[in-house]
Symmetry: C2
Subunit: 119 residues, 2 copies
């Protein structure tokens, strides 16, 4: 039985990360999820994400507000409200806001990457 | 390499389902995902979802607009914009809109349930 069956995004607290701030809504620690992890990330244009990859773990970026891009596989994908980007497991990507802060739902699966890291 | 690295939600077409209409943005057939499936579902209050469960597969409901509920594990969880509900694998649930149509992002992981069904 999960600890929390429902969370109000507006009431969940952001935590600072190097590229802005993030709040985790669904995760093993938040509500016992074993397969999917869901959060809301606010990218700050002043501090772009560094290129990185999650071995064995897929990522989906569903943009809610703001604008930006994700660079992946040699492509620069424009991000805007309603854009849903898919980053296959292990593929390098760099995500950043442009001009203003960008809020996006970040979905990852499985919960742990191939190195066992809960990310 | 996925067929599509980014999708515009506004341009993806809805397909009718018994409880309203849905569009799939991330799936094995849409872009080669192997772990997560992401869609946008519009629940019609006239045709509530029947109680059902996905063995081995978790579901997350992230409400974007409208109001409704999901009944799961004897609880009736109110759904409203910004509510993020987590339904553990195999848990019965019935989701419905109330009064007006409700749009929600539906996330499932893994992609196939324990019976191998791609749902």
């Amino acid at each position: 039985m999960p600890e929390k069956s429902v969370v109000d995004v507006a009431k969940a607290a952001f935590k600072p990360v190097d590229w802005g701030q993030t709040k985790i809504l669904v995760s093993p620690t938040a509500n016992g999820s074993e397969h999917v992890r869901v959060g809301l990330t606010e990218y700050d244009p002043a501090t772009p994400h560094e290129p990185h990859a999650h071995p064995g773990q897929e990522e989906v970026i569903w943009v809610l507000s703001g604008r930006g891009y994700t660079e992946t596989h040699g492509e620069k994908i424009d991000l805007y409200p309603g854009a849903v980007a898919f980053i296959p497991a292990g593929m390098e990507h760099k995500t950043a806001a442009v001009g203003e802060k960008m809020q996006a739902i970040i979905i990852k699966g499985p919960v742990r990457d191939a190195d066992g890291v809960l990310s």
